[in-house]
């Protein structure tokens, strides 16, 4: 019942998105725009500042992820469908998992575009250790989305939710972003510093475990008004 419900919610979100691709296209566009803005800030005399690529990649992910979170839950607010979901007999945490999987899929697509783009534009050897890069991206994105989905869901009924989402989310999520940036920067050094990257991957794993457990545990009481 739990995973079936999660799957249903995910499939529903994909079906909605497939009608217009609205969230996907706007998120991708915004992500690219972010990279360009940072390119102006971190490129000096035609050469990118050292290590800037890792930071730019993660900032673009965090910013576009926040935008996508807001849009996705705005959809559930319109017509109050979030309440209809909460009325379903399934454990409510299953709804959270469904929404989380949708966000992860969305950001995975964005990252598949962002990573090569940053690697090309900043002459960064991001793909020297493809497995580690994927691991870092997955770990960081999971941590970001775990907290982000919970907060966006609970803010659906709050006043000034647009402003409050980044305000609540960023302080808690920045450690995850730091771990992602440091880990990715380790991959960019010549030769790639595998040991450091793996250490940050471990920290990301710890964050993910804590954030996911807490979110699953607190989702039900947080969604009861």
């Amino acid at each position: 019942m739990f995973f079936r419900t999660a799957w249903l919610v995910l499939r529903k979100d994909i079906a909605i998105e497939a009608k217009s691709f609205e969230v996907l296209t706007t998120t991708l566009f915004f992500a690219v725009a972010c990279v360009l803005i940072f390119a102006f800030a971190f490129v000096k005399e035609g050469r990118p500042v050292e290590d800037a690529a890792a930071g730019i990649l993660w900032i673009a992910i965090a910013f576009s992820g926040t935008l996508a979170l807001g849009r996705t839950f705005e959809r559930e607010r319109y017509g109050e469908t979030l309440r209809a979901l909460l009325l379903a007999p399934a454990p409510r945490a299953a709804l959270y998992v469904g929404k989380l999987l949708g966000m992860l899929a969305l950001l995975a697509i964005a990252e598949a575009l962002l990573a090569p783009m940053v690697a090309l534009m900043f002459q960064a050897a991001l793909f020297s250790r493809p497995l580690l890069l994927v691991g870092l991206l997955a770990g960081g994105t999971l941590g970001f989305c775990a907290v982000g989905t919970l907060f966006a869901a609970m803010l659906v009924r709050a006043r000034s939710r647009d402003v409050l989402l980044p305000i609540l989310l960023y302080p808690i999520i920045i450690p995850v972003i730091i771990a992602g940036v440091r880990g990715t920067a380790a991959l960019l050094s010549t030769p790639p510093d595998d040991a450091t990257a793996i250490m940050w991957l471990g920290i990301l794993g710890a964050f993910d475990t804590v954030f996911l457990t807490l979110s699953l545990w607190t989702f039900e009481p947080l969604m009861t008004e």
Partner: protein, 238 residues
């Protein structure tokens, strides 16, 4: 689906329920019982607390004080399975406008663990939307959406049927259809709670009348002719 087994009830009881948001009182010390076959009209002006009451009954919110009991049991003891027996049609329609009528119904049927085959076609037919089944909901008129939302809320044959202002923006024909549907549900043993500020529609439909003003229950009695006059006397001063 195994979670539904064993959860059913034939009465809903509010025991001294209060709900407030900080300094604003939405409901104060409401006690009310509704049984199978009842169509309880929650009447009162806008902002009287009707919607809050419906939300509490739907388990979407918890009372600040007091308890809501389903067949004598508090909601906390019944768990998620309780929600298989509750259906809610609110003013906001609980439909995904991007999806088609059929997609909406299939999604919610599966969410309730039901087999969508047959069930969804029957629902589409009773909403009169069989030939528009695969059109996106955002192309529908208010009346069509409302009919679809009604079928969506009743897909899982709930025992407790909650309606929050279901007649807004509907023409007489559509109102008649919904009223007939409500009577049929009550006759089949459902507990129907209907919140509305529209007296003309409530008159002749409801079997019990609960008047609410400023979050307080000011009367609770069987429906009788002359609803309007009594409403005037008790609420009209507002």
């Amino acid at each position: 689906m195994d979670v539904t087994v064993g959860v059913d009830f034939d009465s809903v009881q509010l025991v001294d329920v209060s709900r407030h948001f900080g300094r604003r009182r939405a409901l104060a010390n409401i006690s009310l019982t509704a049984g199978a076959g009842d169509i309880v009209g929650l009447l009162g002006p806008n902002g009287a607390g009707k919607s809050t009451l419906i939300t509490l009954l739907a388990t979407l919110a918890a009372p600040s004080k007091g308890e809501v009991r389903y067949g004598g049991q508090p909601a906390s003891r019944l768990g998620p399975a309780l929600r298989t027996r509750i259906g809610l049609l609110a003013h906001e329609l609980h439909l995904y406008p991007e999806l088609s009528a059929r997609q909406n119904l299939v999604f919610f049927a599966e969410l309730y663990g039901l087999d969508p085959r047959g069930l969804v076609d029957a629902a589409l037919e009773s909403a009169g939307l069989t030939d528009r089944a695969d059109d996106a909901v955002n192309g529908f008129s208010r009346g069509m959406r409302q009919r679809l939302a009604l079928e969506r809320a009743l897909l899982h044959r709930p025992r407790l049927v909650l309606f929050d202002e279901p007649f807004t923006g509907l023409d007489d024909h559509a109102v008649g259809l919904i009223a007939d549907r409500l009577r049929a549900l009550a006759a089949a043993g459902a507990i129907v709670v209907l919140a509305t500020h529209d007296l003309d529609l409530a008159d002749g439909l409801v079997t019990r009348v609960a008047l609410i003003r400023n979050g307080r229950l000011i009367s609770d009695e069987p429906a009788a002719p002359g609803l309007r006059a009594r409403y005037r006397a008790q609420v009209g001063a507002h």
